[in-house]
């Protein structure tokens, strides 16, 4: 263990030093890293470029010999694959045939019928050619590639492709190489077309030239038919081939044919990727992109999110390149398909370390120097990084021992990649990060300086929305607020554009679209991809329908046999006389002179011209590059990673006489339909193909967009809101503290957790100094709103009873301790004594002053059973309860007696709170008789019975539905209709009013008046009367200086009574849901769709405001008489309180409006749709909206004119109201994830109380406090 610790320390120290180094010399280190990346990638230049296209290598025919298997060192220009014999030698006999001279009596079919018919005789010639010399007799049978069955599943090709014999392909295959079948075929084109559509087309396959060049159509203007006989040879015999060439040339001489015949081309085929293989590949890449997206999305709190994301991706990619380069350098040539394993490598190497580093660095204290921050961040994460790396290396090592070559190679790459990735992370990324953070601070400085000088600030960058608030001061409790000069809503146009860009995330979207387009282009341009597929489809569809210029523009009617520009090819070939077959088809090594020769006769204009051009020399180039692989694949022979040798083509020119053409005619040929009809059909066919392709492409595009859209919606469904401009925000789940075990930066604002309630908190009330909360269990706790101390606990009687005796013992002890500290009357010391008391009351069921120790019984941690607490039977309250003497429930007698004996009989003023200041210093004896703060009211009531004579009894059975706190008084409205007034500090029940029986749904407490809204729609106005009215509700000094609230100015002997002054019985038809009071007005909103405004003094109803089409759910009114209301219809109405007229009316939310706040310039509303909308108050135009987390929509508050605070999942977020920027998110504690902030209360001293579950959180915003001062 110690070794481990030592190791850990050492690693940490090393990382620290390294971080210092990187942050100190960023530029040299980046230069060094770039240089090393380039060096390591240099060997990659020698690698062939990835691609699936075939590679060619040309050798001479004369000195050709089959290359040996062993690599030969000296032949540098020879490619690696040029080893061993090829799969096959391809010998093509290119035949150009024409009927010449062309006779007007001939029909279109004659253009190709007799030339095609000549194929059979040529075929015979070739088949029967025998060459015999000293080494023996060789025929085609001995040399050709013998094929067996066709590949299973290609049965329908059986009729056209040879089986069990020589692989010799010619157009004759359409007719099984039988002249009789050909002659009796009434429609040649139909036979040829019968086999369409095939990939690649049979036409190409059998004719050996692309379909449109064959000239087999009715619209062949050139009247020259071109086709090839393709011989596939397994062995190369120069002499046999030479004799065959000579023989054919002799039979069919091609004058002026200058085709070169001294080069053979070796074509090497890569492993082919078809569409079907492409789909898994694309899938893995999509997953990879999703991974990168989700990873980099987590980069936060930096100057340039995109810059860092780019750096992260660059780190990973260049580490991969480095790994390949290094492996190549050491002689390991990658045999794996790089494109396939690349995504897996990225996933294995991962972006995690980079993100962890970023998180770690940005979570260091921001007031440190950049160097130190980097160093600290690095050293914090050093252990986990090293551990992760060791684990990954181990896993890869295990993988290496699987002894599978492919996996071993993968592991090798991964290891080198991991190491280089680590190197790059340490040097490249860390340095980039340091630069980024320095930039952030510089930018921050730049922004602050002109503001201090009172000048307009410089233009903020468009990335401002995502940027964390850089606190300008080293104080740990700061939140950045921009200067007021910067915060006006009237922005210059230029800035507005920038902000618009920033808000709509235009750059992000453009990049996304760009990525999509890029992927599309990638797929499209892939040599084996969609494009060639489509192109092949188009070109294969077209040949027979190609009208050859019949009416289409010339670029569509391609017949480039004749090329005007080529001087060598323009020479005309004179029609030769009909050749007579040479009976002697056995070359003996010598031949007689050719019997046919070119006749110097000027060709008539109608004579078809047979020309030989350079394009015929390697006619196979015009074929699809998949031509040969597919031909071989039909026989289950793969060409992947192998090569074939293509021998120089043998040109054959055939001229036929018109007589011959007429003789070979089929009787049906003359009855051929006129060309116009098939032409139209062909046009339609071509058009249809084009349309089909276009529709296919369009559909694919739409599908792609839809898929991406769905993916986007599915994966980040709530990131962007629906209405207007919204903002993504960080989620709890995205935080690294869930996964990597360290917390986000919370250094700037530290929330105080107020714990003690056992159930969910229902009501919250505060007057700035004190904070009262009531939970579902009926327990009311009073907290100091500044320190977070629990001052008083008013427990629920029923729940409390069981443990009362034990508590009392403890409290007696505590009393004596506090009595000992009696002389210290100042608030702070009293606070100290409370801490000492804390320790003693450790064993209590309800700890008094604990704010951190969790005391929730485990029984209630899950879902509290609320049913017994909800009293829905309001009309029928047991009256016995009211008359119950307080002593019945408790046995206080002995205790009271004892207390009386120990101390002097208490004076009526003997109940100052322990937190009371020295405004009225009590005597020592009085202080000694200090009652427990959390004690039952019965005890006090018992006291009061003699002193004040108030017979107040708390109603424990019903639950508290509404609570207000003013001065020192808590007004609690219960479901039974009772209104109770409690002393907030002492926890004593001061007054109770039982005039109403209907449950109090809402309370308003203003000055000395309390307004209670009841479930039956009535509104009761109470007046609180104190016999010393000056003192009671006077505000207790200036807020916010001391840590404790000043003492209340009224003393306990004041009799507080609560008189019902007026009851408006039918204020509303339905239950009143909201009640607000300000500026001498009481505004009640009800489920009956109306808002009523009452004057507070005389309870007079001033206006009934109608305008909502749903129940009222939210009302805002403040001192400036701004009245806003929101309803279940999602509408927000602004009213003029003086006239009762509606100022504006907007529909803002889908669902209820849950909360409404106004500032001087805008209205902020939140709804059940979890959207916070900010409206311009004067125009009613929505400025922007903020997407809240689910269920946290209602919690919002305005701290100052431009600072909005919203609740989230265990966090509160601060927003700049003017721009809608997220300034900061403060997390309320690790334990609170999943708990959303339900209520949020902004106090006068800018503390924020939020309520999540059974806990309260007090977030201080001291800078705002200063601002307010």
């Amino acid at each position: 263990m110690t070794l481990r610790e030592q190791l850990r320390e050492k690693i940490s120290a090393a990382f620290y030093r390294h971080g210092l180094l990187c942050a100190s010399y960023p530029v040299p280190i980046i230069l060094f890293t770039s240089a090393s990346i380039l060096t390591c990638c240099y060997p990659l230049l020698r690698l062939p470029l990835p691609g699936t296209g075939p590679v060619e290598f040309t050798t001479g025919v004369r000195d050709y010999s089959v290359p040996s298997h062993e690599p030969q060192g000296d032949l540098g220009e020879r490619p690696d694959w040029y080893r061993g014999p090829p799969v096959a030698y391809i010998q093509q006999v290119l035949v150009k045939a024409a009927v010449s001279p062309w006779d007007s009596s001939l029909v279109t079919v004659d253009v190709f019928r007799s030339p095609l018919g000549r194929a059979f005789s040529l075929l015979e010639e070739i088949r029967n050619h025998v060459h015999s010399d000293s080494s023996g007799v060789r025929s085609l049978e001995t040399l050709c590639l013998q094929v067996t069955d066709l590949f299973p599943g290609l049965r329908r090709m059986q009729s056209v492709l040879p089986e069990h014999g020589c692989l010799l392909v010619s157009p004759g295959n359409y007719w099984q190489n039988q002249r009789e079948l050909f002659d009796s075929d009434p429609d040649l084109l139909k036979t040829i077309q019968k086999h369409e559509p095939q990939r690649p087309a049979h036409l190409d396959l059998l004719f050996g030239v692309p379909g449109k060049y064959t000239g087999v159509s009715h619209y062949n203007k050139k009247k020259v038919v071109t086709y090839t006989m393709t011989l596939v040879l397994s062995r190369y015999d120069a002499r046999f081939l030479g004799s065959l060439r000579a023989r054919l040339k002799q039979l069919h001489p091609s004058a002026n044919c200058s085709l070169r015949d001294d080069h053979m081309v070796h074509v090497h085929f890569k492993e082919e990727i078809g569409i079907a293989e492409l789909i898994p590949l694309v899938t893995t890449y999509i997953i990879l992109f999703a991974y990168i997206y989700f990873s980099t999305r987590k980069i936060d709190m930096v100057k340039s999110k995109w810059g860092l994301a780019l750096a992260a991706v660059v780190t990973v990619l260049s580490s991969l390149l480095m790994s390949v380069g290094l492996c190549t350098l050491f002689g390991l040539t990658p045999t794996l398909n790089g494109g396939e394993i690349f995504p897996y490598l990225v996933v294995v190497i991962g972006l995690e370390n980079v993100l962890v580093l970023t998180k770690s660095v940005v979570s260091t204290p921001v007031d440190l120097e950049v160097k130190l921050r980097i160093a600290q961040g690095l050293s914090n994460e050093s252990w986990s990084i090293m551990k992760n790396m060791a684990t990954e290396l181990c896993i890869i090592l295990i993988g290496y021992f699987t002894l599978v070559p492919a996996i071993q190679e993968f592991c090798l790459f991964a290891v080198v990649g991991l190491v280089s990735d680590f190197f790059l992370q340490m040097f490249f990324f860390t340095t980039v990060l340091s630069i980024d953070i320095r930039r952030m601070e510089l930018a921050d400085l730049n922004r602050r300086l002109p503001a201090e000088a009172g000048l307009p600030p410089p233009k903020p960058g468009p990335l401002r929305t995502r940027e964390a608030p850089p606190p300008p001061r080293p104080s740990p409790h700061t939140i950045t607020l921009q200067t007021p000069a910067f915060r006006n809503l009237r922005l210059p146009k230029r800035l507005r554009v920038v902000y618009f860009l920033a808000r709509t995330r235009l750059a992000q979207r453009i990049i996304m679209v760009g990525t999509v387009i890029w992927i599309g282009i990638l797929v499209y341009t892939d040599p084996a991809g969609i494009r060639t597929y489509l192109a092949a489809q188009v070109s294969d569809q077209s040949p027979l329908g190609d009208p050859g210029g019949g009416g289409l523009p010339p670029h569509l009617g391609v017949a480039p046999v004749f090329r005007g520009g080529d001087p060598t090819s323009t020479l005309g070939i004179n029609p030769a006389p009909a050749p007579t077959p040479i009976p002697d088809n056995q070359s003996q090594g010598h031949h007689g002179s050719s019997r046919v020769g070119p006749l110097p006769e000027a060709p008539p204009p109608s004579v078809p011209q047979i020309t030989w051009g350079a394009e015929d020399e390697e006619g196979w180039r015009r074929l699809s590059f998949r031509h040969w692989p597919s031909l071989f694949s039909y026989y289950n022979i793969t060409l992947a990673k192998r090569y074939i040798s293509i021998l120089p083509v043998i040109p054959v020119t055939v001229h036929l006489s018109p007589q011959e053409a007429i003789e070979t005619r089929h009787p049906q040929d003359t009855k051929h339909p006129p060309p116009s009809i098939p032409k139209v059909a062909a046009d339609i066919q071509t058009d249809l193909t084009l349309y089909k392709v276009a529709a296919l492409g369009l559909a694919a595009g739409v599908l792609l967009v839809l898929l991406l859209f769905c993916l986007y919606r599915v994966l980040c469904p709530r990131n962007y809101g629906q209405n207007g401009v919204t903002h993504g925000r960080r989620r709890r789940g995205d935080l690294p503290c869930d996964d990597y075990g360290y917390s986000p930066p919370v250094s700037e604002i530290s929330p105080l957790l107020l714990r003690g309630h056992s159930m969910d908190i229902e009501c919250l009330a505060s007057d700035g100094m004190l904070l009262a909360s009531c939970c579902l269990a009926g327990q009311i706790r009073v907290w100091d709103a500044q320190t977070g101390d629990c001052l008083t606990v008013i427990p629920n009687h029923g729940l409390r009873r069981s443990s009362s005796s034990g508590c009392w013992e403890q409290r007696d002890g505590w009393e004596s301790v506090s009595g000992a500290a009696e002389t210290e009357c100042l608030g702070s010391e009293a606070h100290g004594s409370s801490i000492s008391g804390d320790g003693l009351s450790e064993g209590e069921g309800y700890p008094l002053r604990r704010r951190t120790a969790p005391s929730r019984p485990t029984l209630f941690t899950d879902q509290p059973d609320l049913t017994p607490l909800i009293d829905t039977n309001f009309a029928d309250q047991p009256p016995s309860h009211l008359c119950t003497p307080p002593r019945e429930g408790f046995d206080f007698g002995g205790l009271v007696e004892r207390a009386y004996m120990e101390h002097e009989p208490p004076s009526p003023s003997a109940y100052p709170s322990p937190s009371s200041a020295s405004s009225s210093p009590p005597s020592g004896a009085q202080l000694q008789r200090r009652p427990s703060l959390g004690d039952s009211s019965a005890f006090l009531t018992q006291d009061r019975a003699s002193t004040a004579g108030t017979q107040a009894t708390a109603d424990w059975e019903s639950s508290v539905w509404a609570m207000e706190l003013r001065g020192n008084l808590i007004a609690a409205g219960r479901s039974s209709g009772k209104l109770e007034l409690w002393d907030a500090v002492e926890g004593s029940l001061r007054c109770i009013n039982e005039d109403g029986v209907s449950g109090i749904t809402a309370l308003a407490f203003l000055n000395n008046r309390i307004v209670a809204a009841r479930l039956n729609g009535s509104l009761d106005f109470f007046t609180v009367e104190i016999n010393k009215p000056l003192g009671l509700l006077q505000y207790r000094g200036a807020p916010g200086r001391g840590s404790m609230p000043p003492s209340p100015c009224y003393s306990s002997e004041d009799v507080i009574s609560c008189q019902l002054t007026r009851s408006v019985q039918c204020a509303h038809q339905k239950p009143i849901t909201v009640l607000r009071a300000a500026a001498g007005r009481v505004v009640a909103g009800s489920q009956d769709h109306t808002v009523r405004v009452y004057r507070l003094e005389d309870s007079c109803c001033l206006f009934t405001l109608q305008g909502h089409s749903g129940g009222i759910t939210a009302i805002y009114i403040d001192q400036t008489m701004v009245l806003a209301s929101g309803g279940q219809d999602g509408a927000i109405c602004l009213w003029d309180v003086l006239t009762g007229s509606r100022v504006s009316h907007v529909y803002g939310h889908r669902g209820d409006v849950t909360s409404l706040v106004c500032t001087t310039s805008c209205v902020i509303s939140s709804g059940l749709d979890d959207l916070i909308c900010i409206w311009d108050r004067s125009t009613g135009i929505k400025l922007y909206s903020i997407q809240q987390e689910v269920g946290c929509g209602a919690s919002l508050g305005v701290i100052s004119e431009s600072l909005l605070v919203t609740g989230g999942q265990g966090c509160v977020s601060f927003w700049d109201l003017n721009f809608g920027d997220l300034l900061q998110t403060v997390y309320l504690g690790q334990s609170s994830d999943g708990q959303g902030v339900r209520q949020l209360l902004v106090l006068d001293n800018a503390a924020i109380i939020c309520d999540f579950g059974s806990e309260l959180s007090l977030v201080y915003v001291p800078s705002v406090l200063e601002k307010l001062d």
């Binding site: 789909i279 997953i287 002894l403 789940g733 229902e762």
Partner: protein
């Protein structure tokens, strides 16, 4: 006020929301399962054909029509079962709950399939052992929960048994069976798939969990 809200809106539709959410999640998982089944089946098909037969598009749907829906249904069930079991056991899955991790998991799963289809192993035992190690590694990297492991193993066994029965009854067959009627690496693939789908399901459920929690709080 909470009590009041309860009183006023007893008819809160949490149940309806749950059902809708469940359906959406199920549909998502189903489509993911179908997609993965198609793609991975393509990988398996390519194993035999290096060069492509002319009908490219048809080879995408070369498997029987019922295979993708079955995979989709199974993945939907698994993806819904995992968070359900988590909540029943009362140990919410906390390990690496984020989408980037899920994506990584899916990528590794595709990689395992890729390896099973494309990498040439010396013998079947080696292949199966390697894949088993990879699958367990997948679990260790992305799941690490006992419930996940147990469910994965049991579902993998069940699925293997079902496949055996299917092959036995001649519904389809493997070209070179080495484990009774099927390939011996099939359980590993099943296990990895279960872990992956469980991961996705849990991540999806995370959204709903938050949502429901908030909903109940609100009511």
């Amino acid at each position: 006020s909470l009590g009041l809200s309860i009183y006023l809106s007893v008819q809160g539709g949490v149940v309806g929301v749950v059902t809708t959410n469940l359906l959406i999640r199920g549909a998502l998982l189903f489509s993911v399962g179908v997609f993965l089944a198609l793609v991975l089946n393509l990988l398996q098909v390519q194993r035999n054909v290096t060069l492509f037969p002319p009908d490219v598009i048809s080879s995408i749907f070369s498997s029987a029509w019922w295979v993708p829906p079955c995979c989709g249904t199974a993945s939907a069930m698994i993806g819904l079962l995992y968070p359900c079991i988590d909540s029943h056991l009362g140990e919410p899955h906390k390990f690496k709950r984020e989408w980037s991790s899920v994506m990584r998991c899916v990528a590794v799963f595709v990689g395992i399939n890729h390896a099973s289809a494309k990498v040439d192993f010396a013998n079947n035992v080696q292949l199966s052992l390697t894949l088993a190690a990879l699958s367990v590694g997948l679990w260790w990297t992305f799941d690490r929960s006992r419930s996940g492991f147990g469910l994965g193993v049991s579902i993998a066994l069940l699925a293997t048994l079902a496949t055996q029965l299917l092959v036995y009854n001649g519904v389809f067959q493997y070209t070179s069976p080495d484990f009774l009627y099927i390939r011996s690496w099939l359980p590993c693939i099943f296990f990895a798939g279960v872990i992956t789908m469980g991961n996705i399901g849990r991540q999806l459920a995370l959204y709903e969990y938050k949502f429901i929690q908030e909903k109940t709080h609100q009511d």
